[in-house]
Symmetry: C2
């Protein structure tokens, strides 16, 4: 990378916000799993959307490729450099605008974390409606760029459903701004809708207008122990029908629980060990405990139940689920395959995928968890070297055979790029490439993410 | 248009489905308001998505421009020929697939009307969740292409929220198909999200996977008479907060009611005449009448109430609202300006727009109605010739000054194309044109709609 560009970037954002020392750039250059990353030409940390535009314009003029990065919590390698790109960190865009209580909307900078937003919304009766374990480090911009999901999708939808408008900067520095949040606004193509889930390849999101949901005054969480995954799927279908307040139905299995308990030095939740654990949560204006108890009444497949309705004990139950990612990362460098299948196929897929991985890579460990309401499973494979054994392809082909998606909520990134054709047709991929070429003709924005380069 | 193309089209779809006699094409060549239309080179009525693809490929090879048309209920001239184009009617794509009760989804052909879908869903406990007066003639394909709204948007969102997948044909005949309806599917750009609201300029929608909503077992409708629009806006804000079952809050004014009563020979709803009428509707599993009555208790601004909880009397109340379009069309050739403004600005905008039209075109009549929950007003202007007096521009500039949208739910079509820049920036319009150029490089698909030609 030329000194001239580094100098210009320093003039645009301040020298303190252009990092090139390895000691300072290291945290931006590798993902949390340790699987993806490379050297960055520099890490640039603009403080405003105008500075983002200036950085992109300068990089475009210099022909320098740019990798946008939020909280660096992505799991498919889409937010870390691969080949000496400029890392454009949006983490300093932390402005939280005033709440519009009539519209139940708020405009926030791309670098705002869900936790910071939740803190700002405390006492307003409103919430984001998207929640997952990385709430302290993920950013709204990254969540929009990857159409993040998480535990509450069965109630509130993915991030897409929360986006009422975006501000974003194109590869050449031009700014697109649509932040009015009008409920009905059919004046031309919905560019924000295209940018949601485009993984930083079409534009860099600098701010989002978010449509909020009512914050439940009372929340109750229950951890259930069951003997088989198909029973858990059927149970959750019944609970959804019976409980409008149901806002999460996450699943994990005995081997995942073992990893978490060992890693965090926790006691298991029940004296008995169960094959399947389901974490259900209800949120409502009034206490949903009785409704949940009534819905669980007579459910013979539920062998154990632990209920919590206060913050501390609820968090304790969620830890068994939310520490899974960290526990798996601590046990090795996992291949993380976030997939979805039609709900009716979920139990069969889960059984088949474990067998298929074992056949492809004898001795590999497959740890599964996910979201039963969405048919979304996180397939985590720990050594022996899954890449060498074609484990990714084995898993993703099985997903396609079940009519599923090779990426449920993490995106394609670089991890799954070569398998995009398993569930997207050549016509769809050609249309995506045409759109990429139209908005980023020089191909400088997150090259190699989602689509191969050259296009 | 060449005989060779006509012959090829006849071979592709059958001679009976290629219309060129004026007696047969007339109904496809002009919109219902009488304001927009022109001669078509031919009207082609394919019966399958494959035939649609064949028609588009043939037209592309011949360089013939194509105007897609659903039920010909559009109000901005986007679905009728302007200059000898081929009209591609999707009305024969009327297949309704099996209901997926677990996912609450159904796949339907582009030519299915909301009324036909409602009939197919009867007894299933599910509904489309998008409803408006043209339910017997509008089509799902057209509703997706224009991101149709209507009365229930305050509860269920616009058509965009109901689209779980699309099948569509590009200008050159290539088919994009994404109909799996997976809740989480972040594998590449969301092409269906881009096509929603693109008004037939990027691709021709042939089928939609629809996410359905619970059909309320009990519905109650109330017509309210009030003295002023600002009171009506404030009332609806309170009703929304108090009534989760609220599924419509439409408004019309005394002069609109007069037109409807004269046109349909109806008695007015109340002995007293009111300045403002609000039609509210609640739908719930149990009878919402008491909740609605409780919410209206003590609302001093409500001078008159008529409540109906059976189908016949509910339809009678809705007639006052739904016959407005027809009554205005019968009174002349109206300029129909469907706009939205922030809800807080709605009453002020309504007062100002009447005065502004009167100033621009003395003697013109401005009839207003709309959807109070969405800040959406339909501004209808009847002669003296509004076009000659720049009425459209007057109204749309006022919308922009209030931070609104020049198109709420009808789209841009050809009617508002020249004013797109009032609420979309040059950067946004350039991005739209780039996308149009990427997906339809020859510019044969609905040319002149949304964006000017040449791009």
């Amino acid at each position: 990378m030329g000194e001239a560009l580094l100098d210009e970037l320093a003039r645009r954002v301040g020298a303190a916000h252009v990092l090139s020392e390895p000691a300072l750039t290291a945290g931006f250059e590798r993902d949390v799993s340790g699987r993806f990353g490379g050297r960055a030409a520099a890490v640039v940390r603009p403080g405003t959307a105008d500075e983002v535009a200036a950085v992109l314009a300068a990089c475009a003029r210099a022909g320098a490729a740019v990798v946008p990065q939020g909280g660096n919590t992505g799991l498919v390698g889409g937010q870390v450099p691969r080949n000496g790109e400029v890392v454009l960190s949006l983490a300093r865009l932390t402005e939280i605008g005033p709440l519009d209580p009539v519209a139940a909307q708020i405009t926030v900078g791309a670098g705002v974390t869900p936790a910071a937003l939740a803190a700002a919304l405390r006492g307003t009766g409103l919430a984001l409606g998207v929640d997952f374990a990385a709430r302290d480090s993920a950013t709204i911009g990254g969540m929009v760029a990857t159409d993040a999901g998480g535990a509450q999708v069965l109630r509130h939808g993915t991030m897409r459903a929360r986006v009422a408008g975006l501000e974003a900067v194109l590869a050449d520095g031009r700014v697109l701004r649509r932040l009015s949040g009008l409920v009905k606004d059919n004046a031309g193509y919905d560019l924000p809708a295209l940018l949601v889930g485009s993984e930083g390849t079409l534009a860099v999101i600098t701010a989002a207008r978010l449509a909020l949901v009512p914050a439940p005054a009372r929340v109750v969480t229950a951890l259930l122990g069951l003997g088989a995954l198909d029973e858990a799927v059927a149970l959750v279908a019944r609970l959804r029908a019976a409980l409008p307040s149901l806002q999460a139905a996450d699943v994990f299995l005995a081997d995942g629980l073992d990893l978490v308990c060992a890693h965090r030095r926790l006691a298991p939740p029940f004296p008995d060990r169960h094959e399947v654990y389901v974490l259900v949560e209800c949120g409502a204006p009034e206490d949903p405990t009785e409704a949940l108890a009534a819905a669980l009444e007579g459910e013979a497949a539920v062998a154990d139940v632990a209920v919590a309705d206060d913050t501390v004990r609820r968090a304790a139950l969620w830890t068994y689920r939310e520490a899974l990612n960290e526990a798996v990362n601590a046990a090795g460098v996992p291949h993380k395959l976030d997939v979805s299948v039609p709900r009716a196929a979920l139990a069969a897929f889960a059984a088949e995928v474990v067998a298929a991985v074992e056949a492809a890579a004898p001795g590999a460990r497959t740890i599964l968890w996910g979201h039963l309401g969405d048919g979304n499973l996180h397939v985590n494979v720990l050594g022996p070297d899954p890449a060498a054994h074609g484990v990714d392809e084995t898993v993703l082909r099985l997903v396609a055979a079940h009519g599923g998606s090779i990426s449920a909520e993490h995106g394609i990134g670089v991890a799954k790029r070569e398998w995009l054709g398993l569930t997207r047709s050549p016509e769809e991929i050609a249309a995506m490439a045409a759109i990429k070429g139209a908005l980023d003709p020089a191909g400088v924005l997150n090259p190699g993410v989602v689509l191969a380069v050259p296009l």
